[in-house]
Symmetry: C2
Subunit: 404 residues, 2 copies
C-alpha cells in the first residue's frame, strides 16, 4: 500500500485525510504522510524510503527507536500487565526517580498528553492560590486543549478569558501583564526557551528567568515551566537548572519514555496539598508499561550521558550545516539548543527556500522540518550525522541551482 493510496483511503474516513501536527499537507509537497518502521535514528516511510531522522517523531524518541533497554523494561512489565485496577509498583519507582533527578520535584503526578500536564499544572496552581488568571507568552505552544490550542476554531472566548499574554524574554511586559490582573495571578507558565513555530528560536535571557521567578514569589503565584518539548534534552534536572532558576511546577511529556505515551507534572512540597485536592485522572494514566519505559529511558539518559551525546551530534550537525550553507552562498540562522535545533534561511519570509530545501533533504534521505524545530536523539552517531550532512549538502546545491 503506497503513501498515495493510503492518502486516498484516509481522505474518506479521516477529516482532511489527516489532522494535527503530523498532517503532511502542512509541510513541503514531498513529505510522506504514512510511516512503516523505525530503528535507532532511522525511519522508513510506506514507500520504502529510508531517512536519517531529525524530528524524532516531534520529540518523543530520545534514545532512538526500539532502544533495547527501554523495550526490555516495557516487555517485562507487559508480560505482567499494563492497565490494571490500580497502578503497579513501577508508579512509585518512577515518581521516586523523578524526585531524585529533578531538584524542584518533591512529588509527581502522571497523565498521557503534554496538554494533560500543562492543564494539570495550572489546576494545581489555581487550587493552591484560589486565583484564576495565568500569564502566558504570546505565541507560545502549551498544547491543544481549547485554552491553549493555536487555532481558535472550536474554542469559546470564555475558555481563554483567564489568560493574560506577555512577550517572551521581556520582564517589563511580564510585569505589565501581571498588573492588569492584580491580586488574581495563579501562575506564570513559560517554556524554557522560545520555540514557537515559523520563527527563529530564542534562548531564555537569564535575567528574564530570574525575574519571572522573583515576580512569581512577589505575587504568591506559581512559576510553571512547560518542559514538555525541551525536557530531557537540555538538562535532566529541568531546563532552567543551568540558570539556577527552579520552578514550582514542571510539565513533562514527549521524550520522557522514548515514545511510550506518558506525561507528568512535578511540583514542590508547598503545592502538594493543592495537588491532592484535584480530581484529575484518566483511564490509562496509571498504566504500567509506559511507566516502565519512562524509568528505563530516564535511567539510560542518565547512565549513558545521553544529553552529552545529543550535544555532540547536534554540534556536528550545526557546524556542518553552517559550513555547507556558506559554501553554497546561503546565509542561514541556526537557533535554539543544539539538541533541539532549527535552521532558517535569511530573508526567507515566505519559507519558499526552506520548503524547497527540506524537500530536497528528504529526497537525499534526511528528514528535517521547514518551520518547526527539530530534535536530536542519543542514537545519532557521528557517522549518522556525517551521512546526513552528505544529503544536506546535495540539498543545498539543488536549492542553489533552483533559486539561482
Amino acid at each position: 500500500m503506497t503513501d498515495a493510496e493510503l492518502r486516498r483511503r484516509a481522505m474518506k474516513v479521516v477529516p482532511g485525510g489527516m489532522y494535527g501536527h503530523l498532517n503532511a499537507a502542512l509541510f513541503a509537497p514531498g513529505f510522506p504522510q504514512f510511516f512503516a518502521r523505525g530503528e535507532g535514528c532511522r525511519q522508513w516511510d510506506v514507500d520504502g524510503r529510508e531517512y536519517i531522522d531529525f524530528m524524532c517523531s516531534w520529540g518523543p524518541v530520545v534514545l532512538g527507536h526500539r532502544h533495547p533497554r527501554v523495550e526490555a523494561a516495557a516487555a517485562e512489565q507487559a508480560a505482567l500487565g499494563d492497565c490494571l485496577n490500580g497502578p503497579g509498583p513501577i508508579m512509585v519507582e518512577l515518581a521516586e526517580l523523578l524526585v531524585d533527578t529533578v531538584p524542584s520535584a518533591d512529588w509527581a503526578m502522571f497523565s498521557k498528553n503534554g496538554t494533560d500536564a500543562t492543564t494539570q499544572a495550572l489546576m494545581v496552581a489555581r487550587a493552591a492560590t484560589g486565583r484564576t488568571k495565568v500569564l502566558v507568552a504570546h505565541g507560545a505552544y502549551h498544547g491543544a486543549d481549547p485554552w491553549c490550542t493555536p487555532s481558535l476554531s472550536g474554542t469559546t472566548p470564555n475558555e481563554r478569558a483567564d489568560l493574560v499574554e506577555f512577550t517572551y524574554n521581556s520582564l517589563t511586559s511580564l510585569e505589565a501583564a501581571a498588573a492588569t490582573v492584580e491580586g488574581d495571578v495563579a501562575a506564570i507558565i513559560v517554556t524554557p526557551f522560545k520555540h514557537d513555530s515559523f520563527e527563529d528560536q530564542e534562548l531564555v535571557e537569564p535575567a528574564f528567568a530570574r525575574g519571572a521567578r522573583a515576580l512569581a514569589d512577589r505575587l504568591g503565584a506559581a512559576l510553571v515551566i512547560d518542559d514538555v518539548r525541551a525536557g530531557f534534552r537540555i538538562d535532566l534536572r529541568g531546563s532552567w537548572e543551568p540558570y539556577g532558576v527552579r520552578p514550582d511546577l514542571t510539565a513533562w511529556s514527549k521524550a520522557m519514555a522514548n515514545g511510550y505515551p506518558i506525561a507528568a507534572v512535578t511540583g514542590t512540597d508547598a503545592l502538594r496539598g493543592a495537588a491532592q485536592t484535584l480530581y484529575s485522572t484518566g483511564s490509562f494514566w496509571f498504566s504500567a508499561v509506559a511507566m516502565a519505559a519512562a524509568k528505563a529511558t530516564i535511567e539510560t539518559l542518565r547512565d549513558t550521558g545521553g544529553i552529552g551525546s545529543m550535544e555532540r551530534a547536534g554540534t556536528q550537525l550545526r557546524e556542518g550545516l553552517y559550513a555547507q550553507a556558506k559554501s553554497h552562498g546561503f546565509v542561514v540562522n541556526q537557533t535554539g539548543p543544539v539538541t533541539i535545533p532549527w535552521l532558517s534561511f535569511d530573508g526567507d519570509a515566505d519559507l519558499s527556500v526552506a520548503l524547497y530545501w527540506s524537500d530536497a533533504c528528504l529526497r537525499h534521505g534526511v528528514y528535517i522540518h521547514p518551520w518547526h524545530n527539530w530534535f536530536m536523539s542519543a542514537a545519532h552517531t557521528e557517522a549518522d550525522v556525517t551521512r546526513a550532512l552528505e544529503g544536506t549538502d546535495q540539498a543545498f546545491a539543488e536549492t542553489r541551482a533552483h533559486f539561482g
Copy 2:
C-alpha cells in the same frame, strides 16, 4: 514489596499517595492500592491475592487481560515501530473499521483520553455551529478536564460558563435548558444511560433519546453521545443504535483497545469540514501500537460475539446476586445494562452496607466496587461467575452477621 510498604513510599512522592479514580483511599478499607498482574478476568495485587475482577480496570479491559489476538497485533506493530513521524497504515484501517461498524460514523479522529474525545467532540460542534453553549446532564461524568471534572478544585468559573445543565431523562428540562441560551446551543452531550457514581444507574427512556435527537435537529446543534464508558459493551454500532437514535458525534475510549491507550471521535459527513478546521493533536495520538490493538479488539468483539458473552455472564451474575441477597434477607437494586452492572443495598444511604459487603467480597476473591458501576468482560466464563458467586455468597453471609 507489600501494598503497605508501597503506600508509605508513595505518600512521599505522589500527592496523597495516589489520586484520581484509582485512589483506593476512596473505596472500602481493605482495597489494595497496587496491582502486580492480570490474566483473563483475574488480577493479582502486590500482596499476591487473586481476584475475579468485575471492574476490568474501570472499563478498558473488555476481552480480558493479555488477550492473545490483541497482544499479537500489538506486538507485530511494535516490532516495526509505534510513535513515528507520521501515522502508520493502521490508522487508516482502524478509521475504516469504525466507519464500517458504526452507522453514524463517516469519519474518525483519534486521541488518548476519554476526556480528549469528549472535548474534541464539543470543539467540532462549536466549529460547525459557530456557537458556544453545551447542554450537559447534571451530575454526568464526561471526563476530568476543568470544563467537566466533578470536583471544582483548580477550575475557574469561566471554564464552566459555557455549560447549561439539564436533568437526565427529562425532555422538559432539556428543552428548558436550551431555551435559556436560545440561538447559542452548539451541542447536547449525553451518556447513553445514566451512570453517575453513588447512584443507581438508569437506562435511557427511548422517548428522551428520540426527543434529544429531535431537539438537536430543531436547534441546528450537534447531538453528542459520550460512549466512553459504555462503548463496545452495549452495541458495537453505538449504544443508542438499539433505540434507532443516531448521534452526530460520538466519543469513544476505554474498551476500544482492551487496555491500550486510545480514544476516538466519530462523526457524520455534515461535520467533516468543521472537524478539519481544528488544531487538536497530541504527541502520541497517532502512535500505531494502540491502533493495532484497537483494530484487533473491535474485530475480536465482532467475530466472537463478545457483547453476547458479556450479556450471558452479566445475566448469570445479576440473577445469582439477586437470589443470594434474598436468601440473606437483603433488598438490593441491580441497575444498568447487565454488561455494565451495579448493585446497591436498599436504604443504604451512607453506603455502610455496600462498603462492608465490597470489602468482604475482596476477602473472598471477588473485586467489585461499592459506589461506581462495574464492568463485565468477554473473558468471564460461566465457571468464573459461578466461582465469583461463591465468594459473594460468603460476603452476603458475613455482611448479615455483621449488621445483624
